[in-house]
Every structure is written in structure tokens, then in C-alpha cells.
């Protein structure tokens, strides 16, 4: 970043994963001396495993009348957004909330699985499928469900429930949505276009309609409960995970003026799209790395377990950083949260920096950290395409 750019701090984290809710709770479990056993449900959408939602009391962040207007991916995101605002200490500050800029990474929402299945069963038995679908959709669809299917309605719900109304944008595009969210927010704050922002995403994995799109191209792992590296001997693949990850990003002077705590500094974000094979592919990552403006002590990797993408990333990290820099593929623990991947990686990196520690190896293939970690690179190499890096350091 050039010298006239402003410093960007992370001053609030809202995090929900299969390990529970709250940034602190997740750090306590994931940041311990040995990594926990990941929580994996192998039953609901067998043969695919998923990292499920923890037990949630949505009412702690979302009034009941609003809960009824949402499906779980929106409840999860709205809940995590509320946690981030609480954590940053601005939830009740009307002036800051109403001028806060909101950027959300979102997918396509949830379908009414029961209705879909009932219609499919009857339509297969009918001799006029098209008419049957028309008739049934008219009577069976719930009006409010449509609102759970619009990508920008996670942002809409956050505005309604938490009153964040400075501006509101939603990015899409699987993992790249999460990369864009962080990159856009950092650019806007660094250039002075915004002073404080709420950014993040959420994904609810525990649903057959959420898994089907990825199953179509054989991206989902159908083995057991292996982690990202362990799956490679068995053809690779990803395991989806329910995650809500929101961050409050703030211009440093703005944060200082209100006496806010800071988790970490976001030094740079880079992204790209292009072919991954051969020298050209490595050169693209090289170019992204150079834009970060520093060399990390450790890496929080958003590697998905899909073999091509994972090998592409690991080859680069090994050649660029050597074998000693610890790399943690966090999807081993919390699963693949698609749009929320990059915000989740940034949150986990920020938690480690704030707590002056790092994570114990998540799998046997990962090396322990042997020296102090003061800067962490976050990666998201999309399972299909698109790449993002961020560099965080202690603030």
C-alpha cells in the first residue's frame, strides 16, 4: 500500500462454526495445545459428511418476528453479524451503526426441500408435468420463502435487525465472493471512502439442496472424516461446513478515537482469476503474493480438499515459503463454508494474532509453529476457480 493509504484494523469478530458461537469460544477450542476432533455429521446427507450448525438460540440476536422471515443461512449470518457488532462495542451506538457500510458475501439461498420433493414425486407420476408444477407451486410455495432465496436479503436482514444502513452491497461467486468482500472493504477504508464497515458471509451446509450443486461436478468428498490433506490419497474432495463469519473493519484513527480494541491489522489483499496449470499458474500466485507487501510467519489456508486446487496452492506455498512456515488448512476443522471461507480465514488469523499464539496442527501432515507468529497470510483458492490472499499482522 502506498503511504497515503490509511491503516485498516479488525475491531470486532462474530464467528459461528460447528464448535459453537463466539470468536472466543472458537479460539478456546481451536487454539488449544492440541487440535480438537472436528464435529462432522455423516448421517443427514450421507454419503457426504457436513460440519453442522451448533445448537443455536437465535433469539439472542434476532427477534422472533424477524426469525420467521428467514431461513437458517440468513439467521446464521444475521446472528454472526450481531456478535461482531457486540464485540466491536458499537451495537448500541446509533450514530456509528446508521453510518456503517455493509458488504456481504452470499450464495443463492435455500429452497423448501419438502415442497420440491412432494412436487417431484407427483410430477413424475403425472402425464402433464408442466401443468402440475404450475398448479402446485401456486398453492405450495410460501411467499416469505422467496425472500430467503434472494442473495441480497442476508444484507437486508442485517439492516433490519441491526440497523446497519450506511450502504449495502452483496457479492456473489462462491469463494471469490468472500475474497471480494474483504478486498473491497480494505480498499474503501484504505482510500478514505469508508471509515467503518461490517463485512462477512454465512453458509448453511446441512441441507441436500445446498450440496447438490457441488455433487454435480463430483467436488464433494465421499470417503470418511479425513481432513483436507488426508483426503488427497483418496481422490480428494470437499466437505461443506456451516459457518457464519463477520468482521468489523475500521480505519485506525477512527478506532483509536473511540478507544476500540483491535485484533489485528489488515496489511493487504490481492486476488486473481485465471488458468492454474504450469508456470503461468504459479506466476499468477507469485504476483498476488508480491502485492501483499510482506512475508508471513504462518498461513491460514482456505484449501478445500479438491485435489487440483489444493495441490496448486500447496505447491506454491512450499516453493515460496519453504517447508518451515506452518500452514493450517482450516476446512479440516470447520468445513467448506463457500462464500464465508475468506472472512472465516481472516477471523481465525486475527484471533491467533490477538492471542499471541497460533493453531496446533489440524492434521498429521501439518507442522507445528516453532517460532513466534506476528503475521499471517490467509488464502482462498476457490475449489473451481478464483484466488485470494490477505496479509494480517499484529496491531
Amino acid at each position: 500500500m502506498s503511504s497515503d493509504q490509511k491503516e485498516v484494523l479488525i475491531t470486532g469478530i462474530g464467528f459461528v462454526s460447528c464448535f459453537g458461537e463466539g470468536a472466543d469460544q472458537n479460539w478456546q477450542i481451536l487454539g488449544g495445545a492440541t487440535a480438537p476432533e472436528p464435529v462432522i455429521n455423516m448421517e443427514t446427507v450421507a454419503p457426504y459428511g457436513v460440519h453442522p450448525l451448533p445448537e443455536m438460540d437465535w433469539a439472542l440476536q434476532i427477534p422472533r418476528k424477524d426469525q420467521r422471515q428467514m431461513e437458517n443461512w440468513q439467521r446464521l449470518g444475521t446472528y454472526a453479524a450481531g456478535l461482531a457488532l457486540d464485540d466491536a462495542g458499537i451495537k448500541e451506538n446509533e450514530e456509528l451503526i446508521s453510518s456503517m457500510d455493509l458488504v456481504v458475501a452470499a450464495g443463492g439461498g435455500e429452497r423448501d426441500v419438502e415442497t420440491d420433493e412432494a412436487i417431484l414425486k407427483d410430477a413424475l407420476a403425472s402425464n402433464d408435468r408442466e401443468q402440475l408444477i404450475l398448479d402446485r407451486l401456486r398453492t405450495d410455495l410460501r411467499p416469505t420463502l422467496f425472500l430467503a432465496q434472494l442473495s441480497n436479503l442476508l444484507a437486508g436482514n442485517i439492516s433490519i435487525v441491526h440497523k446497519v444502513t450506511g450502504s449495502s452491497r452483496t457479492y456473489m461467486g462462491e469463494e471469490t465472493a468472500g475474497v471480494t468482500v474483504i478486498q473491497n472493504a480494505v480498499s474503501r477504508i484504505a482510500s478514505g471512502q469508508s471509515s467503518h464497515m461490517l463485512v462477512g458471509g454465512s453458509y448453511n451446509a446441512d441441507r441436500p439442496d445446498a450440496l447438490l450443486p457441488h455433487a454435480l461436478n463430483h467436488y464433494l468428498y465421499t470417503g470418511g472424516t479425513e481432513g483436507v490433506h488426508g483426503r488427497q490419497a483418496n481422490g480428494g474432495g470437499m466437505r461443506m461446513g456451516s459457518v457464519g463469519a463477520f468482521l468489523v473493519l475500521e480505519e485506525a484513527e477512527h478506532a483509536k478515537a473511540r478507544g476500540a480494541k483491535s485484533y489485528a491489522k489488515l496489511d493487504g489483499v490481492s486476488s486473481d482469476l485465471g488458468k492454474r496449470d504450469g508456470e503461468k499458474g504459479q506466476e499468477r500466485l507469485e504476483g498476488m503474493f508480491d502485492k501483499l507487501g510482506g512475508t508471513p510467519d504462518a498461513v491460514m489456508s482456505g484449501a478445500t480438499g479438491v485435489s487440483e486446487a489444493t495441490a496448486y496452492e500447496m505447491d506454491f506455498l512450499a516453493s515460496k515459503l519453504g517447508g518451515d512456515v506452518p500452514v493450517r488448512a482450516f476446512q479440516t476443522m470447520i468445513g467448506q463454508p463457500l462464500e464465508a471461507t475468506f472472512p472465516a480465514g481472516v477471523a481465525l488469523a486475527a484471533l491467533a494474532l490477538k492471542n499471541n499464539g497460533f493453531y496446533a496442527p489440524f492434521e498429521a501432515q501439518e507442522k507445528p509453529a516453532t517460532s513466534e507468529v506476528s503475521s499471517i497470510m490467509v488464502t482462498s483458492i476457490g475449489h473451481h476457480c478464483g484466488e485470494g490472499f490477505a496479509l494480517l499482522s499484529k496491531s
Binding site: G108, L120, R142, F146, L212, P213, N217
Partner: protein
Amino acid sequence: MTKFTDHKGRPIVVVTGLGAVTSLGRGVDENWLALCAGKSGIHSVKRFSTEGLNTRIAGTVDFMDPEEISAPGISYAMADATTGEALEDSGFGTNGFPGPLFFAAPPVELEWQHRFDLLSRTEDGEIGYERMLASAREHKQEKMHSLIQLGTIAFRLAEKYETQGLPISLSTACASGATALQQGIEAIRRGDTEAALCVASDGSVTAEGLIRFGLLSALTTNNQDEPEKASRPFSKDRSGFVMSEGSAALVLETLEHATNRGAKIYGTIRGVGEKADSFHRTRSSPDGAPVITAISAAIEDAGIGPNEVDYINAHGTSTPENDRMEYNSLHAVFGDKIHSTPISSNKSMIGHTLTAAGAIEAVFSFKTMEEGVIPPTINYETPDPDIPLDVVPNQSRKADVANILSNSFGFGGQNACLVFGREVA
């Protein structure tokens, strides 16, 4: 302030290429002629059966040649056409584009035809998601997968037209087209890039889409036998919007960049304003405060006063609530001057193109300034006494238009307003 910067010292952003597809036709010229002639693109839906539906009309785009008749297939075909047109128009052609792509992306997902396709390939598992998942395991569906990924259209456009870096797919519902432009402007203003390609596309008129919007009482159910009369913005007898398809592309660059390469300049994007609404998922705050703030912010950002706005390209959806709210908010900002400022709704002719609306209306706004002709609001037969506006009723009008305000509002509390200018300095 130099020759290349605006009143706030930011690089002046100009538009140097336009592309459009709507139900009125393919290409900016064809659309412009039809618009000025007051033609409607709304018709009975032929693409699928509408038997028994309350709404059987739409502004579908049926003349493209998509690889598949589906929302992603049609949306891509239109986006490809408008992007190609805008790049050709701007002089960049197919030689690569020196900036990023901002794409307002339509909602895409598996459609019923895909579900039946999957079910037809296996007998394994219970009929429903279990069987579709089993089918997917037995037969890999690479093309189906690619079509329904939300980032695919932008990825494909970026690859084909060689834009720079990671393309951005965005959604702010019915404000998306304006948001794509806003993103391009912001990126240029903060110095990330000297050029940006802003594209929006929506080909998502499906039976399920009509039913979903119908359940929210958003669509008109009147005039089903006279489809061209169904979209009636600002009329007393307006009763809902007409769902439509379309796409637009605009090439944005700094004035300096455009001047240096000798490009033809349509005009500038002088200002943007945005304010989110926390009132309701589908309705605006009754006091209009967020919309008023967005309009005021756009005009202020442009460095002009309301009295310098010569014409307003309305959001004007033809729903009872939107049109009243839009008038009240404009009145709050413009005062009584609003009653003599021409305002028209392109949606009276092309319907509501949803994700693409803000970008399509931006293209038509630049043509309005270039040609000195304001397209009409058609079907304006019964004025609404509560909305005393000069809506340029039924016939286009010659006018000297130097500054335009364009409004876009969407579900989820999205409000984005843009100010366009004809002169570069």
C-alpha cells in the same frame, strides 16, 4: 481541480461504450428507436405454459440463441451480446480490456428441467434430493454445474473479453444495475483502475419466478389480454410491475484515459448516492428518508443543485407503492420544482428488468442526452392526482438535457441513485 478532475479533485469518470438488449430488440440503436416511438416489448409468455397463472405476460427476450433455455443460459447470451457491443462501441473491441469487470448477476439455481434430467438417469434412492444426489454421483454433470454457479457468467465474460483481475459478481436486487456502475465509479475514483467494464443481465423469467413475485403481490394481474398496456407507471390505475429480461453494458474510464486514446465520449457519471433502508424486506420506509438521502447524496456528490437536473429517469416500476414513494421523495428533495421537471419510466415499455434495470436505464439516459430526446412514459391515460408529475406522457419529447438523475430501488432496503452529465467539464 484540473482538466481531468471533478469538484472534489477526483478523476472525472466518463462513459465511452454502450450495449443493450431488452424485449424491444438487440443493440442500442434498435432499442432507442423503439423507445422513442413509444413501443412496448411486453407480450404473452410463449417460452413456457402460463395456464392458470394470474400473470401470463412478461418482457421476455426470445430472440437470442442461448446454449440452454434457462435463466443462466439466457442471461449469459444477453450479457455476452451487450458486452461485445459496448466494447466494440468504445473502441476496445476484442483486444482485451484494461480494467476489471463489475457484473450485476441474476439469481440462478437448478431449474425444474434440470431436476427432471437428474431424476431420469437413475432409479436409486427416494424420489427427491436423495435420488438427484445419487444421479449426480453416477453421472457427472459438468455443464449443469457450471451454469448454476453464481460466479460463472462473470468468469466467462472476464475470460472471453480479457478484463483484468478477479471479476466481481454482485446483487442488490432491483438496484443491481446501478450498483455495478457505482462499483466501477468507486474503483476509478480511488485509483484502483483507469477503466471499468460494468455489465448487468437478467434472463430469469420462469414460471416459478412469476409465481414467486406474484405471491408477494408485486406483479400486475390486469391487462393480461393487452400486454402492451400492462405497465403503467405513475398512472392512477397502475397495479404492479411486469417482469422482464434484458442486459446492458457500459464502458467507464477516466476522462484522461479516454482523451489520451481519442475515444468517443457519451458523457460523465457525475455523482452516486446510496442509503440502505432498515424498515422492511420489501417495502420502503413510509417517510421515504433513505430514498431522500440517496437522491440528495447523488446530487451533492455530482456537485450540482436539484435545479440543475433537467430530467429524471425514474425507477417507476408501476407498483402503487413504489411510484407514490418515489414522487414523495423527489418532492422532498426538489420541492415544487419537481412538478416542472420531466420524468419518465422506461419500464412502461420494457417492463422491470430487475437485476439489469439500473444499467439499461443508464444506457438510455446517455442516449437521451446525446440525442436530445426524452423517451415517454407510455400507457399514461389516467393521471394520479397524488402524483402530479410531468411524466412525458405517451410521446417522446425533444429536450436539451445536460444532467439526469437515475433512481434504482430494490428489495432488501437497497437504494442507489446516479447523476449523469452530458458535458465533460
